[in-house]
């Protein structure tokens, strides 16, 4: 009788093979088809995840896709290598080693523009051959026009913009051209024309479009006000949305326009509405000082005095807040007070956050962020924090891997012990011999042989013998592979911990420097606020002096509101 007990053994052998081959797989370096690998990098680059794109790029990719590499480096603010890579790109282009696509040239132009190098940017933009999409064309026009403006050629910028399409980029370009005309010429007609075109091209639907539209309206209003056309300027100031960050400026300037028109009531109304905005904005302070001035000019002396007192009190309060914020910054540092989400007992009045943007912290944060140096430093701080979080994640992952490797080692030892290759070999030989015997004995008819699938069985046993031979090698390699994975895990863990320490040191140093910058900025605000306070006090004195020096007796001099 033929025994088929070897079948279960066969399954066991395959199970061991699966476990062992999982362990001995060769290390990966993103071993996927190039099209998929490159597509993955493009996906991350395009959606602005530059850090992920950089981690995906291996050395070969970096060398063969230099434009992508510098795009990602610039995006993650790693600028030190960019110039060197750009030199290599230009050398490749000169020697005609590599063909660059229109997309590459567009990217090079954009990078050069961001690096403030307009001439190479324009050269790169000139090399575009393919048709651009509508959005890319807008961007292309914007960069080229701005480059010409930077290079001092408004005429060329205007020519570039003749080829314009609508949208926010074109609107921005016209706006910048308007600014440039305004600064470079006494004749404001060209500036106004550019501003008006900027408004026409702006749909004002998205947040950015709305913000730009506000900015354009403020600028047009300012140009008209400077040109002594207050009536026209007021029309544009009124178009600035009240929730815009520049609303205090617009309201204050609108008040000035009304003052020019001798409409004191309207001027005061406009300045009154500025009072609801934070005082760190100088326009608010100016409005507070302008209100009593308007009252004074209207002959409402008592109200002027009240308004000066109110202004003084507001400036005094703000000075106290500035002093408190400064002492907090000195004690806790900018990171704890401004950047990170913290709860420090007793400081809820400052640290409180809300969905609204007019909290104390938000006000001061916005004020500090208007300084480019502080903005860049905080951006760097955030990037380092993100890296720190990433290291924390990997640290915990590596701990899990370590445990998993230990389990794998135990399973592997157990399975490899259970797997006796000599015994299995003997069994295979025995089964092979038995099959051969059956085949040679001629005791079974052909039909019986077919039913028992003897030939198929012989073939599968032969395959099994081959896999067993392979398995012997893989079991030996598997041990080594497991060991190397253990070592790799340990090494990565060590490097992760070292990096975490380094990040801690650098972020601390950066915090110290940000704190210094912020406190310097606060000093400027303090000086400004003190000056405002002095101006309001002087205003008070001036009113009193006027009253004292007045020879005429007037009824209700101190109560003008009832006149």
């Amino acid at each position: 009788m033929i025994k088929f007990a070897h079948c279960s053994h066969t399954i066991n052998v395959f199970r061991v093979i699966t476990v062992v081959t999982c362990l001995i797989a060769s290390p990966l370096s993103y071993s996927m088809p190039a099209e998929l690998y490159e597509g993955m990098i493009q996906y991350e680059l395009d959606r602005g995840n530059h850090f992920k794109a950089l981690t995906l790029m291996d050395e070969v990719y970096q060398d063969t896709h230099r434009v992508d590499h510098i795009t990602a480096l610039k995006g993650f603010n790693v600028n030190s290598e960019i110039h060197e890579i750009l030199k290599k790109i230009y050398a490749q282009e000169k020697n005609k080693n590599v063909t660059f696509s229109s997309k590459d040239y567009f990217q090079i132009g954009r990078l050069e523009y961001q690096l403030g190098r307009c001439k190479p940017a324009l050269r790169a933009f000139k090399k575009l051959k393919n048709k651009l999409s509508q959005e890319e064309k807008q961007e292309w026009i914007f960069y080229r026009a701005n480059c010409f403006i930077r290079l001092g050629s408004n005429k060329n910028a205007m020519q570039v913009l003749n080829d314009t399409v609508d949208g926010i980029w074109a609107s921005h370009a016209y706006y910048n051209l308007g600014v440039s005309y305004d600064e470079s010429s006494r004749n404001k007609s060209k500036a106004l024309k550019a501003f008006k075109l900027a408004i026409l091209l702006n749909k004002g639907k998205t947040l950015q479009e709305k913000a730009l539209k506000n900015q354009i309206n403020l600028s047009v209003g300012s140009v008209y006000l400077n040109a002594e056309k207050p009536d026209l300027s007021s029309n544009f100031f009124k178009k600035v949305y009240l929730d815009a960050s520049i609303a205090p400026q617009a309201l204050y300037l609108n008040g000035l326009a009304k003052l020019e028109l001798n409409d004191f009531r309207a001027a005061t109304q406009s300045w009154f509405s500025v009072k609801k905005y934070p005082l760190v904005n100088q326009s608010v302070a100016e409005a507070l000082l302008a209100i009593p001035y308007a009252y004074e000019r209207s002959g409402y002396i008592s109200q002027a005095l009240e308004a000066y007192l109110e202004a003084s009190s507001s400036f005094e309060t703000e000075l106290k807040i500035i002093s408190k914020v400064d002492s907090l910054l000195k004690k806790y540092g900018a990171a704890k007070i401004l950047i990170e989400d913290n709860t420090i007992e007793g400081l809820e009045w400052f640290l409180a956050k809300d969905v609204v943007t007019n909290t104390m912290k938000a006000t001061y944060f916005s004020y500090f962020m208007s300084n480019l140096e502080i903005y860049n430093a905080v951006e760097l701080y955030s990037e380092l924090k993100m890296l720190s979080e990433s290291m924390q994640f990997w640290s915990s992952q590596l701990n899990v891997f370590s445990q998993s490797l230990k389990d794998k080692r135990a399973t592997f030892t157990k399975k490899s012990k259970a797997f006796n290759s000599t015994k299995s070999q003997k069994k295979i030989v025995k089964i092979t011999n038995r099959i051969k015997e059956i085949q040679s004995e001629n005791t079974l008819s052909q039909a019986q042989m077919d039913r028992l699938q003897i030939i198929k069985l012989a073939s599968s046993v032969s395959k099994l013998a081959n896999r067993l031979a392979e398995l012997k090698g893989t079991v030996t390699q598997g041990r080594g592979r497991l060991k190397s994975q253990f070592e790799m895990n340990k090494e990565l863990m060590q490097r992760t911990q070292t990096s975490q320490q380094q990040l801690k040191v650098v972020t601390k140093k950066l915090d110290v420097q940000i704190t210094r910058l912020v406190r310097d900025q606060l000093k400027i605000l303090n000086i400004q606020m003190s000056a405002n306070f002095e101006r309001s006090e002087q205003g008070l004195v001036h009113v009193f002096q006027d009253i004292a020096e007045s020879n005429k007796k007037q009824k209700n001099r101190l109560d003008g509101r009832y006149k």
Binding site: M40, Y252, L384, L492, T496, L510
Partner: protein, 185 residues
Amino acid sequence: MHLRRFLSFLTILTLIAFGASIINAAETSKDKKKPKSIDSALIKEAEQLKKQLIQLNSELYKFEEDLLHPANTQLGVFLSISKDSSFVLDSIEIRLDDKLVTSYIYKENEISSLKNGGIQRLYLGSLADGRHKLTARFNGQGANNQYFRRKKALPFTKEQSAKFIQLVVTESKTNNEPLFKVKAW
């Protein structure tokens, strides 16, 4: 006297408002004031550290992949969208042998990146050799704002090497209906 002071401030305001935007469209909110800056040595140190961490992260990702999904058991599922497709993908669900393995909800910029030639790795896992079935369910809106919910199934055989499956969203040129294709690598 007061008016003159106001007007001088007006000039300052105008300059601030104008100056910011000329630098860059994206930099309108940044001021030109530069009291002091961060030490360049610290910036260099931070940049060096960033480079080091990019490298370390890259190695960590590769190690994780090597450990959890070795090449011989690896299955990767990818998604791409053709540039001319007007289909707006809202979400996708991937089932492997009728078991949900991943799902994803898309943002506008992700769809735009995919249409620009980007490829998203939707799923990376390990799979035993043999026959399997991959099912992808696409939810989104087509050319005429018609809501689509389409299922695409692919039976495949996993052998002793990594398997990569790419889901491709294209559009029919005749009726503008979205087409969902599968490409096995």
